[in-house]
Amino acid sequence: MYVVRPVETADIPALESLAAVTIPGLHTLPRSRDKIVMAVERSLASMAAQVDIPSEESYLFVLESVEERRICGTAAIFASAGSNGTYFSFRNDVIQQVSRDLNICHSVHALTLCSELTAYSHLSSFYVAPEVQKGPEAALLSRSRLLYAAQHPRRFGDRFFVPLAGVTDDDGQSPFWNAVGRKFFKMDFLDAERVIGGARNRTLIVELMPHYPVYVPLLPGDAQAAMGQIHPSGELAFNLLTAEGFEADEYIDIFDGGPILQAHKHALRTFTSSQKLRVRTGVARTREGPLFNYAVSNDDSAAFRAVAIPCPDLEGCDAVALSPEIQDILRVAEGDSVTCVRI
């Protein structure tokens, strides 16, 4: 059994070992102990804060194996992407080209540096250890952040986005970067990512990145091909997020051209299809129908917990059957209210 819960100070050593195994150039987790400590402290302070308008808060969740007390995944959410600056991305513009005289009609793609994602909430740091990537835990982890957000609408924006790492080759070269950013930054992709610390909201971006649209047909073929392509490590996240209701195509990352998935919360299944149900003690029985995986979270803002359980269709129900063990993990009791959404 696995549970998703907010990070705690005691998790720091475990996060350090996780950071050691993630891939260079992919900003899933901070790398140094100092930065991990900062991230954990910021999450604790954010959870504890009274929030009226989403700002610099950032919430970090971990996936823990209950039996082994082992951390095997992380997922975070920043309340506001531009809380300390402007969040820059490339918007994928389509320019219609029509000349009736010449009987020409086609469209040209252009990438425009934009700041539209600044007020969005920003999902990040999604990492799942290989041993749990196959199960419902990955979906639980990805979705728990949104369950938390759905329970705390004032802490988050109305729109959410998730940048996914773009493609790089074995040498860490990014064809998109080589065609675009390198001309302005005059450095390698990994060097640029290192100096900027994976951020997309720094003044130096507006100082260095192109002010005018990049016409896509002028880019070399490999850079065009890399636009909106995900790094293989992001496939799981991509599939989970598109199933959730996120859409790609409109924005891409200014550095590696990776896709930025985004959605209004009204388009996300966690917001539209989650149900508040009463807890009753029991176990799911197959005679109530086929079983589905559900994510279930408590409604305790101080000690958020979420688990994945198999369960009959809850459509139209007003209660959900949870075993005493699950109730224990979720820190709820019979009659309490929980939030459920089908995974």
Binding site: K183, F185, K186, T203, L208, H211, Y212, L218
Partner: protein, 348 residues
């Protein structure tokens, strides 16, 4: 002998013969009787001053007086871009700099512009291959500067000349292949022909409007921005000697440079002088310094502007022209002419 003169009504057939020799690449001089006839009529009205200065098109021909054959043609348009937009790319500089990263990047950028709207234009220069010897090319090209020096009030502040851009050996334009083709989706020569026909609204419809970083173009396209067609290099040098400079404007299709100058800063305006034709006596011959450099001489009549090249020299406002030369200029002893040394003086 050769004289460059204002075109006449009777020159249409000769002009057509010349235009038939031009080949591709000069969009303003095509062997089309209707187009040439219209242009001739405008030119005659220009020299007659019956149309306003900005609509004028001064067309000059070089005539071989031995056989009355037209050996070349050149023109000055009063103003460009006043009825159809006149497009260029202007090359600008954008600096992207971050003190934090210690990065300082200077990027060249193409801006679609109509900045040269209203400028006067030197154009349609063509010399028949049979006459490409000696000073003939210079005479033909530079005749226009003497005309401008004589009638500067007819020209706007700025004068420009569009130079044909670089082409590969197969006739393709690397700049067009790297940029324009993505937006026009048609052949370079087809696009060029459309603009020659005055069908320019497609430029507004199809050209990318936003400034473009040159660094995004393929290297071979970047390399030819502002480069002339190899056959155009001598013409470019001639114009540069006369005071025109490449100031960062290029053709939107082939990136050929536009040369430009303030009219007041042309060599001809600074160095040309008036002179009176001396009576043909021995005294003047005796006093004339030994000639070192040929001189361009024109009469001072707008309607019947004529110009020749001579070995005579303007000495303190007097010049000794032979009677044959006087006849070519349609003027005689005591008449005022304008002179300009053919070649640029070497600077101190």
């Amino acid at each position: 002998m050769l004289v460059v003169r204002a075109i006449h009504e009777g020159d249409l057939d000769g002009l057509f013969d010349l235009a038939s020799q031009v080949g591709t690449g000069m969009t303003t001089l095509k062997p089309d009787m209707k187009m040439l006839g219209d242009r001739l009529a405008t030119a005659c009205a220009s020299f007659a001053e019956t149309i306003p200065p900005e609509e004028r098109d001064y067309l000059f021909v070089m005539e071989d007086t031995a056989n009355h054959r037209l050996a070349g043609v050149c023109a000055i348009k009063g103003a460009v871009g006043l009825t159809e937009p006149f497009y260029n790319y202007r090359i600008g500089t954008l600096v992207h700099s971050s003190r934090e990263l210690n990065v300082f990047t200077k990027m060249e950028t193409l801006y679609l512009s109509n900045d040269l709207t209203g400028s006067s234009e030197l154009c349609s220069l063509f010399l028949h291959p049979d006459y490409r010897v000696g000073h003939n090319g210079k005479l033909l090209s530079k005749s226009r500067f003497l005309f401008i020096a004589q009638f500067p009030h007819l020209f706007t502040e700025k004068i420009i000349a569009e130079m044909r851009g670089y082409q590969a050996d197969d006739g393709s334009s690397p700049f067009y292949e790297g940029l324009g083709r993505h937006f026009f989706k048609m052949d370079f020569h087809h696009v060029d022909d459309l603009t020659a026909l005055g069908k320019k609204s497609f430029i507004a419809e199809l050209m990318p409007r936003q400034p473009l970083y040159i660094a995004y173009l393929p290297q071979d396209a970047q390399d030819v921005v502002g480069a002339v067609h190899k056959s155009t290099a001598p013409a470019r040098r001639l114009l540069e000697q006369e005071g025109l400079h490449y100031e960062g404007y290029v053709d939107i299709f082939d990136a050929g440079p536009v040369l430009q100058a303030r009219v007041s800063e042309l060599r001809a305006l600074r160095d040309s002088e008036l002179a009176v034709i001396a009576p043909d006596d021995d005294m003047v011959h005796a006093c004339a310094p030994a000639n070192t450099e040929p001189t361009l001489v024109s009469n001072t009549t707008l309607r019947d502007f004529r110009m020749i090249i001579t070995e005579a020299v303007n000495v303190n406002g007097s010049i000794d022209l032979s009677s044959a030369e006087q006849k070519l200029l349609h003027c005689g002893t005591g008449a005022t002419v304008r002179t300009l040394p053919l070649n640029v003086k070497k600077n101190q």
